[in-house]
């Protein structure tokens, strides 16, 4: 049994029964007795002073229960939303943290900023009344681009952040970097934009909040990736509610990609309002609201330079980035373009010196925060574009240039010049395997073939590394993080031998219910169908930190292993008693407890029964078989690998066709290969989305969102993607008990540079900003007509 369902088995996902049959239970599926509906009045302007909010007419509309404005919220002494990661500028000053009211008070700072909330008996009534809320605005000039916002004379987003600067941060040794540049044989340079993305989880954000007057407590159902963290923020920082008086439940959640980590105004308003009106309040985002208010991703403008010696060894790299933070600081916004970005610029390479400067800038746009990969896609894109550029300029084969600079497999643990110490890896192995899988040698022939058809073919590499499994609490604290990033796990045996696992992480598509069950099946020999995973309810599970940063398995899975270890230790004592042997003589393997050198044994189910019906039981052992562990990781984990893709460009239309995609990843130990492949596929799809199709566009003058629906914002579809060839190499992490590293973000991190490297190779041009949309590619193809290879 365990062999087919333990670690390494492609077990079919347990959760798919309910998802595929339409029996998932999402926040919006929930309805509470006496429930009301919230509808938000939102700003149509990117920047305006609110002169007057008149609710007189709206209040008289049928079905209106209450209308609240920013003033009502301010009067009740509700705090603003907070940003939980302190970044210090070069001069040591803390980042600017302007107020982030849950309903705007006197100024709106992005299109979609909430100005009032109407609560109605029905959603339609709330909406009808919301149309009658009269808001008088004095429209002010807006700025949407991070470089424009940092320029002199730009419209100011917050009075207390002069020059729209949140922070001016640096990492690395500036002097040593300059010195290395001075000795360089070649310096490659690029200016590039990491395009802004809108997350687009399939399930929009939603909340149902209920205040119970009798117990003076709240229950909040919310589309959260981390219900415990949301509860902590709501209680201790915003609403001033004692933590034991709130329960947060994140039921089935339909995708997050980072956008559901954060504490948003909407669920906060619903929670607060449920107490004002003493009735449950429900809110579900419409898709247009998702576009306008889900925290966006990326949005960097960067200049990068790479110094190389004659042999192509990297000497140093310097980076200057303007990162758009949007109008307000979202929950972890400050960390994404700093500590989740700059340290990763070392990549898989031995570059001895790096110097990175990042200006975090406010603009009149939706807040920007972590989105699948969070900082690491930005770093990898930059690094792999500049490495490719250097290879072309120095006429060194791009695979060879990477190989010359990889950290060798015997150099681990490897301390980079920018914070991280990599535990283990073998970057050469992934690259070699990827080259073989794509048949690199056959590329010139394939290119000639394409050219015969009038197409232009290119090949692109991306050798990435990422920091996952976030993260050791002490390290996070030292870097300014306001939380610990451990995880909890509980393994609870029932008297009949079945198991309930409680985890503080949260599954919103990752397949925890299967993967975590496999760990326990493997460790304790329990059939997988006898294991249930419980998550997402602060009253049911121990405090936990949730799911993001590819941390669930490396941190949450490790906590479960630790809980299993405790179960085994206790079970050994019970087994010794049952078998009338000494504890030291009990051996354990996959749920079978045996007296060493004999055939006397009991299994875990028998032990569990004895623990709950302790009629004949050791006197010094507590009844019950239920253990909890908290696991704080020793380090980040460092998945790495190489993706290579080939594209065929139609120079007549600018259409880019992805002809081949090879992904070779090292995720350490793999628990469920099928789940991992699924994560890789999804990640690449998102990366292809960024590189070819997706981009968030604001009008520069008015600050209006021009890509506010699927008519203009292009999500990748199945037929935009090729069939991916996925391969693995494995160096198990020595730093966690499973040897795992995390796989959730790799595809989204690796894919964009692979694609743009391939497109620019096909076109014979230095650079093209993402997305490589047809018109841009067509223009580049016209401007740079072929190398006359085949003719």
């Amino acid at each position: 049994m365990t062999a087919e369902s333990g670690i390494g088995a492609s077990v079919r996902r347990k959760e798919d029964r309910r998802f595929i049959t339409g029996n998932g239970r999402y926040t919006d599926d929930l309805n509470r007795p006496g429930q009301t509906y919230a509808f938000f009045v939102r700003s149509p302007h990117a920047h305006a002073r609110i002169k007057r909010v008149d609710t007189t007419k709206a209040s008289k509309m049928p079905g209106v229960v209450a209308i609240f404005t920013g003033k009502d919220v301010a009067d009740s002494k509700v705090g603003g939303l907070i940003c939980g990661w302190l970044i210090k500028s070069k001069d040591g000053s803390p980042h600017k943290a302007p107020p982030h009211p849950i309903i705007a008070l006197d100024t709106v700072r992005h299109v979609g900023d909430q100005v009032a909330v109407v609560i109605g008996e029905t959603l339609a009534q709330a909406r009808d009344a919301a149309e009658q809320v009269q808001v008088e605005y004095e429209v002010l000039p807006a700025v949407v681009d991070p470089k424009d916002a940092a320029a002199k004379g730009a419209p100011q987003v917050h009075a207390d952040a002069p020059g729209n600067l949140c922070y001016d941060w640096e990492l690395g040794d500036k002097a040593a970097t300059e010195a290395a540049f001075a000795k360089a044989h070649h310096v490659a340079k690029l200016d590039l934009v990491n395009n802004r993305l809108i997350p687009n989880a399939m399930e929009p954000r939603a909340a149902v909040a209920e205040y119970d007057f009798g117990t003076d407590s709240y229950t909040v159902w919310s589309t959260s990736q981390n219900p415990h963290v949301l509860k902590l923020l709501l209680c201790a920082f915003v609403l001033q509610v004692p933590e034991h008086k709130m329960r947060v439940i994140a039921p089935d959640v339909g995708g997050g990609f980072g956008s559901k980590i954060f504490n948003y105004p909407e669920e906060t308003v619903c929670t607060w309002a449920s107490r004002q009106i003493r009735r449950p309040v429900k809110w579900t985002a419409e898709r247009s609201e998702s576009f306008l208010t889900d925290a966006h991703g990326r949005d960097h403008v960067t200049h990068v330079e790479l110094a190389l010696d004659k042999a192509g060894k990297f000497l140093a790299m310097r980076v200057d980035t303007h990162a758009n933070l949007g109008a307000y600081l979202s929950t972890f916004a400050t960390s994404v373009p700093t500590y989740l970005y700059a340290p990763l610029l070392a990549g898989p390479y031995t570059t001895p010196q790096l110097y990175i400067e990042v200006k975090g800038v406010f603009t009149h746009t939706t807040p920007v925060d972590a989105y699948r990969g969070a900082g690491r896609p930005e770093a990898t894109y930059l690094l792999e574009r500049i490495v490719e550029t250097a290879a072309r300029e120095m006429k060194i084969d791009p695979a060879e240039l990477r190989r010359r600079n990889f950290i060798p497999p015997d150099a681990f643990p490897y301390q980079t010049p920018v914070i991280q110490q990599y535990d283990i890896g073998n970057y050469h192995a992934s690259l070699d395997k990827a080259l073989e899988m794509i048949d690199y040698k056959g590329f010139p022939a394939r290119r000639a073939q394409s050219e015969k058809k009038g197409k232009r073919r290119g090949i692109g590499f991306s050798s990435y590394i990422e920091a996952c499994g976030i993260a050791p609490s002490a390290a996070v604290g030292a870097l300014g993080g306001g939380v610990g990033l451990w995880e909890s796990g509980q393994v609870r045996f029932n008297p009949t031998g079945s198991v309930t696992i409680h985890t503080g992480s949260h599954s919103h598509g990752q397949g925890h219910e299967t993967t975590f069950a496999q760990i326990v099946a493997d460790k304790l020999g329990v059939p997988i169908e006898n294991i249930e995973v419980v998550h997402g309810d602060t009253d049911k599970t121990a405090f936990g930190m949730g799911t993001y940063g590819s941390r669930s398995l490396a941190v949450g899975g490790s906590a479960i292993v630790k809980a299993c270890d405790k179960i085994v230790a206790k079970a050994k004592k019970i087994a010794a008693h049952m078998l009338e042997a000494a504890v030291e003589d009990i051996e354990h393997e996959r749920g079978v407890f045996k007296v060493s050198g004999t055939d006397k044994s009991v299994n875990i189910a028998q032990i569990a029964f004895s623990a709950y019906v302790p009629h004949n039981y050791p006197a010094d052992v507590e009844p019950g078989l239920d253990e909890t562990a908290f696991y704080d990781p020793l380090n980040f984990s460092f998945p790495a690998g190489t993706h290579i893709c080939e594209v065929e460009v139609d120079p007549d239309t600018g259409i880019v066709d992805i002809a081949k995609w090879v992904a070779v990843d090292d995720f350490g130990t793999v628990i469920n290969p099928m789940v991992v492949e699924g994560q890789v596929h999804g990640g690449i799809a998102q990366g292809v989305g960024q590189a070819l199709l997706e981009t968030c566009v604001y009008d520069k003058q008015s600050g209006q969102l021009l890509t506010g629906s699927y008519m203009d914002y292009c999500m990748p579809r199945a037929d935009d993607l090729p069939s991916f060839e996925v391969g693995m190499t494995t160096t198990p992490s020595p730093l966690n008990p499973l040897g795992v590293k995390g796989c959730g973000e790799a595809g989204a991190i690796a894919a964009p540079p692979a694609l743009i490297n391939a497109v620019t190779d096909a076109l014979g041009i230095k650079h093209l900003d993402m997305p490589a949309s047809p018109e841009k590619v067509w223009r580049a193809a016209q401007a740079n007509r072929p190398r006359m290879a085949a003719e």
């Binding site: 339609a124 149309e131 247009s288 007549d652 239309t653 199709l693 566009v697 021009l706 890509t707 699927y710 008519m711 203009d712 914002y713 292009c714 999500m715 935009d720 949309s773 047809p774 018109e775 067509w778 223009r779």
Partner: protein, 264 residues
Amino acid sequence: MYAFNYHRPGSLAEATKLIAANTEAKLLAGGQTLIPTLKQRLAQPGDVIDLGGIAELKGIKVEGGSVVIGAMTRHGEVASSAEVKKAIPALAALAGGIGDPQVRNLGTIGGSIANSDPAADYPAAALGLGATIHTSKRQIPADKFFTGMFETALEEGEIIVKVAFPAPKRAAYQKFENPASRYAIVGVLVAETANGVRVAVTGAAPSVFRWTEAEAALGKSFAAGALDGLKAKADGLNADIHASAEYRAHLIGVMARRAVAACG
């Protein structure tokens, strides 16, 4: 959506009477444009007249060398119709390239043509094949039907009954899709008909139009090469975040050449 009165007449006569009595009412066909408009509260009709219950608006017939398609015929039915595939394969292929399966199972030819979306596909077929639009009042040649962006020759209370497409000698449609919406950024239908070559372009301008220079060139020699060196003018073409007027002008040429090549 605002509240409205819902009507479902059983005959064209009844529908005509209803709409004549209330010109502010909206006709509902497949609802693929109207329903989202209502949901977003961009329109507030007091009455909606659903054409779904009128048998005489449905169905496909081939009569006298023409394919006649009832206004309420769904795109999916046209795409999969053996008769259409035989008589005008380009028309079936065009219908099969509209939207996605859900849209094709509900969207109708009458709704599409009445809507005259600048990026819609059917207008290219109607104009390129020289179709005749039969309404509750009269017959309108396609050349006179599409008058502007979301504008047609339809008068108040006039209902499209059917569209008659004369079968061409050969025809083909090539569409360059908007990557996001998958409507046409540029769609070109080229047809060799009994009355000469017709080239209709959709997506590129505020309304579907005929590219007369290309028609003249192809009239002399019906081959993709005949269009070499011929450039559509960018003046007056649409420009948006997906495609500039210049790019659209270029794509008209590319799609036209590909359509000619596809005619075989």
